[in-house]
């Protein structure tokens, strides 16, 4: 007798807990043979608001942690992901080929190298990226900040401070690597993140959520929502408690709508276009952290 598999429903990650969508909605994820592989939550506007609220509340403590500590926590995330390598690779591979092809088509010309990436390679690159940015936590301040030689008896220096709450909109393709590449530089700088999952294949994101919840990451720092992106985007930019947006491979319409909404309270919007996420040279850099910090310059007189 064939064993009946236990069909899993992935829930949302909000404030360190795994609630279902407050709307009660869920969506099936289909495998290559159109069998239901699992269900994921269909997040609502209210779920988004709850996630932003959790992120806002958790951010000051994360920003106030020592840079050394933030680096350790990110490295712990890499450790937890390492134990889920196979599960992650299988989840990446399990999505219908058509869906992946569509996702690739959306990434345009830059997808050439992504195509050569196997699920296993994607997982390795993703984990290594977390390790890379774990190491940046106590260094980007030295690279992006500086002392300023002003013409007067003042000590003057500029240092990067976290922007606050950042919403990430990852691409459909590279469902794990795309998302991680957007969130890790942001987290590294002491920001709190609310991210949508890849719409084509949300499962790897939710396995990541389980890794994050069992790492030392404080609740509320990373919140992950699943569901149709088009439904949530219109509610992201008008939200006054969102400070910045980090997105990739948006359509021209989504891009324009996002920026127009962001003008309302002057959110900082960074949209990555044509990025090959498998390319370490392109994606591993303090210049991926820089859009999510504010530079503060301090003056103090120098005198006896």
């Amino acid at each position: 007798m064939t064993r009946i598999p236990v069909l899993k429903t992935y829930k949302l990650l909000i404030n360190g807990a795994f609630p279902r969508s407050e709307s009660g909605r869920s969506l099936p994820v289909l495998d290559k043979k159109d069998n239901v592989l699992a269900h994921v939550a269909h997040a609502s506007r209210k779920d988004l608001r709850d996630a932003v609220e959790a992120a806002r509340a958790a951010q000051p403590k994360w920003a106030g942690a020592t840079a050394y500590n933030r680096g350790q926590v990110l490295y712990r995330l890499a450790e937890m992901m390492e134990g889920k390598r196979e599960e992650l690779a299988e989840a990446i591979a399990s999505v219908p080929f058509e869906a992946r092809a569509q996702a690739r088509a959306r990434t345009g010309a830059a997808s050439k190298r992504a195509r050569s990436s196997t699920p296993s390679l994607e997982v390795s690159t993703a984990i290594d990226r977390v390790v890379h940015y774990a190491g940046w936590a106590d260094k980007y301040g030295q690279v992006l900040g500086c002392n300023n030689p002003v013409a007067g008896p003042f000590y003057n220096f500029t240092s990067p401070e976290p922007t606050g709450v950042v919403v990430c909109l990852p691409p459909d393709g590279a469902p794990l690597l795309g998302l991680l590449s957007l969130i890790v530089p942001v987290l590294c700088a002491g920001n709190a993140v609310v991210t949508l999952a890849s719409e084509a294949n949300p499962i790897p994101s939710m396995i990541l959520a389980e890794a994050a919840a069992t790492s030392d990451m404080p609740g509320g720092i990373l919140n992950i929502l699943t569901g149709p992106r088009a439904e949530l985007i219109p509610h992201i930019t008008p939200h006054r408690d969102v400070d910045a947006v980090h997105a990739a491979n948006l359509s021209a319409e989504q891009n324009a709508a996002l920026r127009a909404g962001a003008a309302e309270n002057l959110k900082r919007v960074t949209v990555r276009e044509g990025v090959v996420f498998a390319d370490n040279d392109a994606c591993n850099s303090p210049w991926w952290i820089e859009p999510f910090v504010e530079f503060k310059t301090m003056w103090h007189p120098v005198s006896a």
Binding site: N148, A263, T297, M298, H300
Partner: protein, 538 residues
Amino acid sequence: MWACGQRPPVARYDSPMSSHPATGSSLKSISSNGHAASNGSAEKPREATRPPAPAASAFAGGFEYAPAPETVKVEIKERYGHYISGGWTTASTGKDASFATINPANEKTLAHVSQGTDKDVDAAVKAARAALPRWQALPATERAKFLFRIARRIQERARELAVLESMDSGKPIKESRDVDIPLVAAHFFYHAGWADKLQFAFHGRTPSPIGVCGQIIPWNFPLLMAAWKLAPALACGSTCVLKPAETTPLTALRLAEILEEVDLPPGVVNIVTGDGRTGAAIVNHPGVDKVAFTGSTDVGKKIAAATAGTKKKLTLELGGKSAHIIFEDASLDQAVEGIIQGIYFNQGEVCCAGSRLLVQESVLEEVTKKLELRLASLRVGDPLDKNTDVGAVNSAQQLATINKYLKLGEEEGATLCRANSSTLPGSGYWCRPCFFTGVQPSHTIAREEIFGPVLSVMSFRTVDEAILRANNTPYGLAAGVWTDKGSKVLDIAKKLQAGVVWCNTYNKFDPASPFGGYKESGFGREGGVHGLRGYVTL
């Protein structure tokens, strides 16, 4: 206000604060030539009829200053065209095609300037685009030399520029002479040196120029804002279309003459005058790669929305309602001098003005008394008088805005202190410096940017309350902290959400020091290595 080493005049009588290095220090590395300004020393009272103010009784009678007018004559043309592609367009005439720029201290017309049309803007953008390949192909060291030349000529023509700036904007000559113009020259010098070192500014990346920059600047620091915009753009290999504010176009047009003198290649900098319509034409022009704007948050949001569906890059330096926090352990006399610098510098028409004063409750009374005394000693009047502390408000419109807030402040229940009783000239736009006490955080004057010499005084008890109140605003441009405890300074500076935090000082500026805001005060920085970021792609 005395940012460049000039002692506040009150120091003659009693002012322990003026001996402090922070207020008596020089920010000016480059002295503007030939400015051995002699303060009038005659004993004759300037205004025989000036009423003595009660709070100023210590200074009344016998201590008046004689007029000390700046006498340099500056030639101003009757009409100006735009500066496009290295030449001047024919000045427009007619009601809608041109407008007068006036001296706000006497309401007399200084010149007529042209209202830039869509066609003018298009010509300027095309000129900038055409100039781009040659400008970028120039070896960086050669490009740098043009900026060095500009800086040198600004120094050499500093007095003329200072006088013109004060005439057109209403700011006191001692500020235009000692702060604005020296900083303009310094800004070009600083950025000149960057032109051939950009590869060292961005770790691991190769910067490339951003292209054609559309730059729109305000009226409060007319030439300085032009320098903040042009110098980094030129250093990074971009070309520019600059629009000065409609009430203060003259120094930017004089800068165009300097650009001609130094043989800057045609089209590298184009200057188009006009009002908001001209600004909109620049923002909306498809040939513009980057928009840089300094001005109000309202307009900044409109620009952000207008560029939303485009590839245009954007930097915004917008409004503020900056908190100035005085702790009980601060050196209070120095702090009071800092408060004065913070809010009355340039008639309070400063985006980073310390307009919300937060004083620890235990010293509130003492600080208020000292402030009242100091306020009474400020001299308001002719911007071209070397002893003037507070000049003319920039325009009738701005004066009306300030008066609206003064009325609103009293209506909402705050108490207006008018300790300053300077006799005001018969014409021009004037507002005596003043402050409100009994201000609640919910009052309009505590929330909205006034852009005038009006301070809102509030109190707090604990450090946490001070930080909470300071950050309780959609703005985040600047903040000030006064305390003698080093660890407290660092803790508070870290927690304040502001792009510039002045600790035991206020309103200091330097080309090497990045400036710009958090939150709705805009994004991007100007000055320092961080200011280059807005003018390159990585």
